[in-house]
């Protein structure tokens, strides 16, 4: 059965998106991403380190755009202007590639999104032909506004970026999911496999994570765990869970035919 994730009209056979930061080296980056099964991987855009060894390997040699969909982000941007400039550079860097991850941060302490700046940047980017996947607060009204602007996916946080605190407000994610007509991805805050499974069981379309894998004791093994968790959560969502019946115990085995009773 085909159960692809479709973003901006393109199908992907993995519902796990992963970041490429915080790994020990490129070998570990490559191995973890391979194990995750991810098709879409995020990268950051940063100034060239002038005077660096010209032979130093480049991330895009390790993760070739021919094999992965590279999703440039605007991590570290605190204004709409900086985010837009960063993604224009990313589009040039990636030969006209339009799919991007927008995030405009509010403060360095919480890395909470600055939603007014995020909305402003989204408007400009959509008008310039970018396909915008947008990191946002878990506020259903904000998510609707971003969708109305023309973002191709909304990506509410589960908890603070890099916190590993898991899904703190499943009800908000549920409301966002119920209303959205574009894919909803949980971005930020995933700590372990069960968090990813819960996100998928809520009906979210995909999960994006970085630190949960990169900061695990064994990142490659955690990448595999996350792949399985996302698949399990998705299957559970599609299967439709049983109703919760808190006051109604029902045995799974027959009540008749027990030994030691009159026939």
């Amino acid at each position: 059965m085909d159960d692809s994730l479709v973003i901006a009209g393109k199908a992907y056979d993995s519902r796990l998106l992963v970041g490429t930061g915080k790994y020990r080296d490129f070998a570990e980056t490559r191995a973890a991403i391979e194990a995750s099964g991810a098709r879409i991987v995020t990268v950051a855009i940063r100034r060239v380190n002038i005077g660096q060894d010209a032979d130093q390997p480049n991330l895009l040699d390790v993760l070739p755009p021919s094999r992965y969909t590279i999703l440039p982000n605007t991590a570290g941007c605190y204004t709409a202007e900086d985010a837009v400039r960063t993604l224009r550079l990313a589009r040039e860097l990636l030969d006209g590639h339009a799919l991007v991850k927008l995030e405009v941060l509010g403060d360095a302490h919480t890395l909470f999104p600055n939603m007014p700046e995020t909305l402003a940047a989204a408007k400009t980017l959509v008008a310039e032909g970018f396909q915008v996947m947008v990191y946002c607060s878990d506020d259903p009204i904000m998510a609707s506004m971003l969708e109305d602007i023309g973002c191709v996916a909304v990506m509410p946080l589960a908890s603070l970026i890099g916190s590993g605190m898991g899904i703190l407000n499943p009800w908000n994610l549920q409301i966002i999911r119920d209303r959205a007509r574009v894919p909803v991805l949980v971005d930020a805050g995933i700590g372990t496999a069960s968090d990813a499974a819960v996100a998928m069981e809520l009906g979210c379309d995909a999960v994006l994570m970085n630190t949960a894998i990169a900061a695990a004791r064994d990142p490659v093994r955690m990448a595999r765990a996350m792949k399985l968790a996302v698949e399990a959560g998705r299957e559970a969502w599609l299967a439709g869970r049983m109703a919760k019946k808190p006051y109604e115990a029902r045995p799974s085995s027959p009540s008749e035919g027990l030994i030691g009773k009159p026939a």
């Binding site: 980056t29 100034r47 991330l59 895009l60 991590a75």
Partner: protein
């Protein structure tokens, strides 16, 4: 007289004339996957040869790095 360019926030001096292609060569990043912004505008790779830099230009030269 040399022209002053601000490259990734740091001022550097070069004898004119210098194109974006020439600058990329000076920086030792020829052939690398980079992107360049000049005074807030993208310089497409196809125009590195014909874009001559002027005194006071502000340039951002970027690459993709690991990130979430």
């Amino acid at each position: 007289m040399d022209i002053r360019l601000t490259i990734n926030g740091a001022e550097r001096r070069f004898p004119p004339p210098i194109t974006v292609r020439g600058l990329v060569g000076e920086m030792g990043i020829e052939g690398k996957r980079i992107a360049i912004e000049r005074n807030g505008e993208i310089v497409p790779r196809s125009r590195y040869d014909e874009t001559t830099l002027a005194d006071g230009d502000r340039l951002e030269v970027v690459v993709a790095v690991g990130g979430g």
